[in-house]
């Protein structure tokens, strides 16, 4: 029976901390199953519709009747105090024990149960063995259920506390949670509590269209997207001969708008798309903690440290004054000072450069390692002669205040951090004379007249800041020139965004500084395409910020390794993002984070909504709709690659997990070659798209 338990636990998607926000595919554990089958199964677990109705809007639901004791109220406060990262002023006294034992020593108070049920719980707990493994034996023995009943029982119990379960799954990530994991302990606790209080919520029955119909409507709405792809395929190829500037952006859909605005200014500007960490698997010893500056699917290979350790800020001062008995005396005379803060709102703190010295740290690496890193970047980007005098890596970040989800607006490829550090490192490495020397035998002859720069695209403000402190004097004029261009492009991009999202109304500069703002930017809303092709294919098209654009030139990738990289990393990350948006818009009651105005930060880990102490995952209502009009329509990711079918097929055969995504229809995969028609990879192989 225990394998059943661990199998159920494996199906739980992970949830990252707020400051390390990662867009997670909520159907992660189910990608072995076809899309339709998995969703049908989920609907029976959640007892709520997951697929939207005929108009693409979630089916309105009546809430179950209010109950005093739910899984969340019984366990939420305890879990919050147990995993608290320093938010409670007095730390929980059972923090140093393993989860299950901590829970036992917090009984019966931590459940908030009173009277008969509290006594019953005490009685049950007394008979329990102390080892988690034995507890499971005991529970399995006691509940006379067969395998499928057990599975369903556990799934339904975990669906009552999905947020905390997901967070515990993340704590074990990337390992599978075993029977002695924290998630397993939580599940055991739920099973025990279920003997005292009926945990399963009773959702009122409601009339809704059959699953089959809703699936039909869903796929029908997606069909229209193929027309856009067909248009792309028909684009004539135009090569930009000698660019003045060549810049690599993150593939993020927000870059598309800015890139188009910039390229419109001059035909001699060429931009590329690449995963925002630019292939540098680094982590950085920051002032607060180690920052992993790369997608969560990859482990960091290089740890960079500043020459002097960064100073930690004294952040306890304010809470020292206002908490506890001293707070009673303090607010009397000090409370008036709050009026100043009230009048100003929350201000963004001017931080000192958080990545000061990262360039030096990168240059201090051994030369062979540096050469290998840069060779990888150049190959995968397809960067080679003719070189532009300025080559720029542009990572991205965002600006907002009073926003617990701020990290979610930063680069998703960098674990909720900005891509700035990676861009700066990449530029520093490419400028390193040792590296250029080492690259020459490998086939990259970068002349001394080429300068690499790092930059940061602020996606809220649509501003690009170049890091020019190390740039030699000789490039000063051309840098000033490019900066002026970027300014104009920014203004254009901001105007573009207001056309795409007219409800934003106020200027980005106002929104980014407003402490009451719930939509500082629209993030990745609208994402639906992933296009891996040379930029010339999409250059003339307005893709409305809906596409992840990855540069890929099949003729430069003879061994197919770049294609392999694209399909296994950026496509998977993009599909995670896409499916998160899909789930949060199709079934906000289940997979959405609720309403931002009800959010409260719990333990420095996540947010909970209103009185429900469960953690919230997914996207908030404000991130996907405005006055009940959605600005993201749920649809699966449409991946278009300019490569031969045989090359793609080779990658699919090598990587079963990507093949599963395609064959089980979690993404739609299309391919084309110059002058050839568009084909789609289906379960039955490649088929022409009519």
């Amino acid at each position: 029976m225990k394998p059943i338990v661990t199998q159920v636990l494996r199906e739980i998607p992970p949830l990252w901390e707020l400051d390390r926000f990662v867009a997670v595919n909520p159907f992660l554990g189910l990608s072995d199953k076809p899309f339709s089958e998995a969703l049908a199964e989920l609907e029976t677990i959640w007892q709520r519709p997951v697929l939207p109705g005929e108009d693409g809007r979630p089916i309105p639901l009546e809430q179950p009747h209010w109950r005093p004791d739910t899984a969340a109220t019984l366990l939420g406060p305890f879990l919050a105090s147990y995993y608290d990262k320093g938010q409670a002023i007095w730390p929980a006294p059972w923090k140093n024990k393993p989860l299950f034992h901590a829970w036992l020593s917090s009984l019966p108070g931590s459940t908030g149960l009173v009277g008969e049920s509290s006594k019953l719980l005490k009685k049950i707990v007394k008979t329990l063995p102390s080892d988690l493994n034995l507890v499971w034996d005991y529970l399995i023995n006691e509940n006379k259920l067969d395998a499928s009943q057990w599975k369903r029982h556990l799934q339904i119990l975990l669906a009552e506390l999905p947020g905390w379960a997901a967070y515990l799954r993340r704590r074990a990530w990337p390992e599978d949670p075993g029977i002695d994991s924290e998630l397993s302990a939580l599940t055991a606790i739920l099973v025990i509590l279920n003997q005292v209080v009926e945990l399963e919520s009773k959702w009122p029955q409601h009339l809704m269209p059959a699953f089959r119909d809703r699936l039909k409507w869903f796929t029908f709405r997606e069909a229209g997207l193929k027309e856009v792809l067909a248009k792309i395929v028909k684009q004539p190829l135009e090569e930009v001969k000698t660019p003045d500037v060549r810049a690599a952006f993150c593939i993020d859909v927000r870059s598309e708008v800015f890139r188009r605005a910039w390229e419109d200014l001059s035909p001699r500007i060429l931009t590329d798309g690449f995963a925002g960490f630019f292939g540098l698997p680094i982590s950085w010893q920051g002032s607060e903690s180690t920052e992993h500056l790369l997608p969560v699917l990859i482990a960091p290979a290089l740890n960079l440290k500043p020459m002097q350790p960064m100073e930690k800020q004294d952040r306890t001062f304010k809470s020292d004054l206002v908490s506890g008995p001293q707070g009673l005396a303090f607010v009397e005379v000090g409370g008036g000072f709050s009026l100043l803060s009230l009048l100003q709102g929350v201000k963004a703190k001017l931080k000192k450069d958080p990545y000061a010295g990262i360039e030096e740290a990168a240059r201090a690496l051994p030369t062979e390692q540096k050469v290998a890193l840069v060779a990888g970047i150049l190959k995968n980007l397809g960067w080679c002669a003719p070189w532009a005098p300025l080559m720029i890596f542009i990572g991205h970040g965002s600006t907002s205040v009073n926003n617990p989800h701020a990290a979610g607006l930063d680069c998703g490829a960098c674990g909720g951090l900005t891509g700035e550090a990676n861009a700066r490192c990449a530029a520093a490495l490419c400028n390193d004379p040792d590296v250029r020397e080492g690259l020459r035998p490998l086939g990259w002859d970068i002349p001394a007249s080429v300068l690499f720069l790092g930059g940061r695209h602020d996606t809220t403000l649509d501003e690009v800041k170049l890091f020019t402190s190390e740039a030699p004097e000789a490039w000063k004029d051309s840098i000033i020139n490019v900066e002026a261009q970027l300014k104009r492009a920014g203004a254009k991009a901001r105007a573009q965004r207001l056309i795409l999202f007219p409800f934003l109304k106020r200027s980005a500069y106002v929104r980014s500084k407003d402490w009451a703002e719930t939509r500082p930017e629209t993030a990745l809303a609208g994402n639906v395409f992933f296009i891996a092709a040379p930029r010339s294919v999409t250059r003339e098209l307005n893709l409305e910020g809906k596409a992840f654009l990855h540069s890929y030139q099949a003729d430069l990738d003879s061994d197919g390794s770049t294609l392999e990289l694209i399909l296994t990393a950026p496509v998977v990350v993009a599909s995670w993002i896409n499916l998160q948006y899909l789930a949060s818009t199709a079934a906000p009651e289940v997979y959405g984070a609720g309403d931002k105005v009800l959010h409260t930060i719990v333990g420095g880990i996540g947010v909970s909504e209103g009185n429900n102490p469960d953690l919230k995952f997914g996207l908030a209502k404000q991130s996907v709709d405005f006055e009940a009009y959605p600005y993201h329509m749920p649809s699966r990711l449409h991946v278009l690659i300019q490569a031969s079918q045989s090359n793609i097929e080779r990658v699919l055969n090598k990587h079963a997990e990507v093949k599963k995504l395609v064959e089980n229809e979690w993404i739609h995969l299309f391919a084309f070659e110059t002058g050839r028609p568009l084909t789609q990879r289906t379960l039955n192989g490649w088929q022409l798209v009519s």
């Binding site: 400051d19 809430q63 179950p64 009747h65 209010w66 005093p68 406060p77 305890f78 608290d84 990262k85 320093g86 938010q87 409670a88 002023i89 007095w90 730390p91 006294p93 020593s105 917090s106 108070g109 908030g112 009173v114 952040r315 306890t316 001062f317 304010k318 809470s319 008995p325 001293q326 009673l328 005396a329 303090f330 607010v331 009397e332 005379v333 409370g335 008036g336 709050s338 009026l339 803060s341 009230l342 929350v346 926003n403 407003d514 402490w515 009451a516 719930t518 939509r519 309403d595 009800l598 959010h599 409260t600 930060i601 719990v602 420095g604 909970s608 209103g610 009185n611 709709d625 006055e627």
Partner: protein, 477 residues
């Protein structure tokens, strides 16, 4: 067009206050032809003006926050309407000079808040809390209406200004029933134990509602007591009742607050504690200090709620002190408070109890200063400790005088005993804050902590009552 009007609506919030200030400044010259009867409905003095301006500023800020915060919400206009009208009603409450009118505003505030709490009508949690609050508010209304009737029977007038004159003539009138009813009314409005359970559960309403409630409406209870201070201070027993409930709420709130890992819940429990302390100040005969506490706390709490989305502020790890640290902190504190109390006794002997209270409260802050690793951080905290101690003592002496409130410091009898008990309780609470890191493994501490997570579990009766009371009625409909 409709949107434009909504955009401008924030300017409407402080209008009652502006009118009152104009009346106050130009009343003598321009409005004299107005009948004296209407004049008496307003009671503009230093106290009401201070409260009025406080509400106007706070209300405008909260309204403008909600205005932007709720963009994209389908029912924003309705929400803003109720928020604005509740703010008007609270301003009316502050300035009215007639107790009957006061009760009307009091009830209207509660109805306005009821609508705001139910903004998310589809959320069962929001509805049940609103109902719970509704029940408790009606209890408070009954107490206040009963007090109003008794007042009329006693004094034959509802005019605040006239009571003072009556007391000046006849100071020995027995006012205990009236005072006790007023105190009960205030306790229900201010979410004091045992009427507190709904407050930490009101997180089902937008952040702006929490800010308004914790900074503005909860304070109405305190304002009522300060406004009618000339009456309730004549009843020693009512004052003792007030101090008793204040101490229990204060300790309860502060203890529960320390254990919450959830920011808004922590702020909610902190309010219960802070308002409890304000009740003690009123009971101790320092209404002016209580008014300043009310304003200081209101501003601080509104700011804390509105800025509760700052993530980084909540992930700081605290240093774990050793026994030696704690003893050193204790020694430094003893020295400082000895000096302070001697100085206080020399400066104003009648306020020496207050000096004891302040020093009991500041023990944890001195202890935290000793813990700091850098000299700068240590001095920063010690300086604030000194600033708080000295200024709150001085404000405590003069505040009532500034606001034209009469002070009634206890000199002997039950009230002194109860106050001494309060000081000892706070000292124990402070000692617990200091030694808490050392008793992590003690069974009783774990037990206390576990119950503290749910606010010591006393919150179920109104919830269950509301569930039973209302769900039956709904079934009939």
């Amino acid at each position: 067009m409709k949107r434009r009007l909504v955009d401008l609506s924030v300017c409407l919030v402080p209008i009652p206050t502006i009118i009152c200030i104009l009346f106050w400044v130009f009343g003598q010259t321009f409005f004299l032809q107005l009948n004296q009867k209407y004049w008496d409905l307003l009671f503009i003095d230093a106290l009401s003006l201070t409260f009025l301006i406080f509400i106007a500023i706070l209300g405008t800020i909260i309204y403008s926050f909600a205005f932007r915060n709720l963009k994209g919400d389908l029912h924003r206009t309705r929400f803003l309407f109720f928020l604005g009208s509740t703010l008007w009603v609270v301003q009316g409450l502050a300035v009215c000079g007639n107790f009957a009118l006061f009760i009307v505003f009091w009830v209207l505030t509660s109805f306005g808040l009821h609508q705001l709490l139910q903004h998310f009508k589809h959320r069962p949690g929001a509805v049940i809390v609103a109902k719970e609050k509704f029940l408790i508010s009606r209890l408070g209304d009954f107490a206040l209406i009963a007090a109003g009737v008794l007042i009329y029977l006693h004094f034959h007038t509802w005019d605040f200004a006239e009571w003072i004159l009556i007391f000046a003539q006849d100071p020995d009138v027995n006012v205990f029933p009236i005072a006790a009813l007023l105190v009960i009314g205030a306790l229900t409005k201010s979410a004091q134990v045992p009427f507190h359970a709904w407050l930490p559960r009101t997180l089902e309403a937008p952040t702006a509602v929490s800010a308004l409630m914790h900074a503005g409406i909860i304070n109405a209870g305190g304002y009522l007591l300060i406004r009618t201070y000339s009456l309730i201070s004549h009843s020693e027993s009512a004052m003792v009742l007030l101090i008793g409930c204040g101490v229990v709420s204060s300790v309860w709130g502060i203890l529960a607050m320390q254990m919450q890992a959830d920011i808004k819940r922590r702020l909610a429990w902190s309010t219960i504690g802070q308002i409890g302390f304000m009740m003690i100040e009123i009971g101790a005969g320092l209404p002016g200090l209580a008014l300043l506490h009310l304003i200081g706390h209101g501003l601080y709490k509104a700011n804390s709620f509105l800025s509760s989305g700052q993530l980084l502020a909540y992930t700081s790890l605290r240093r774990i002190p050793s026994l030696a640290n704690s003893i050193a902190g204790l020694c430094l504190w003893s020295l400082l408070s000895l000096l302070g109390i001697v100085a206080a006794a020399w400066f104003s002997p009648s306020h020496v109890l207050m000096a004891y209270l302040i020093s009991a409260l500041l023990l944890p802050l001195v202890h935290i200063s000793v813990l700091q690793t850098s000299l700068r951080a240590m001095l920063k905290r010690l300086f604030v400790t000194l600033f708080v101690a000295v200024s709150s003592f001085i404000i405590g002496i003069y505040a009532s005088f500034w606001f034209g409130l009469h002070e009634s410091l206890p000199t002997e009898g039950l009230r002194v005993a109860v106050l001494t008990g309060a000081i000892v309780t706070f000292l124990l609470l402070s000692l617990m804050a200091v030694f808490q890191p050392l008793c992590q493994s003690w069974r009783w501490y774990q037990w206390l902590y576990a119950y503290g997570l749910h606010g010591f579990g006393f919150g179920r009766w109104p919830e269950a009552l509301a569930d039973r009371f209302f769900s039956k009625k709904e079934r009939h409909i």
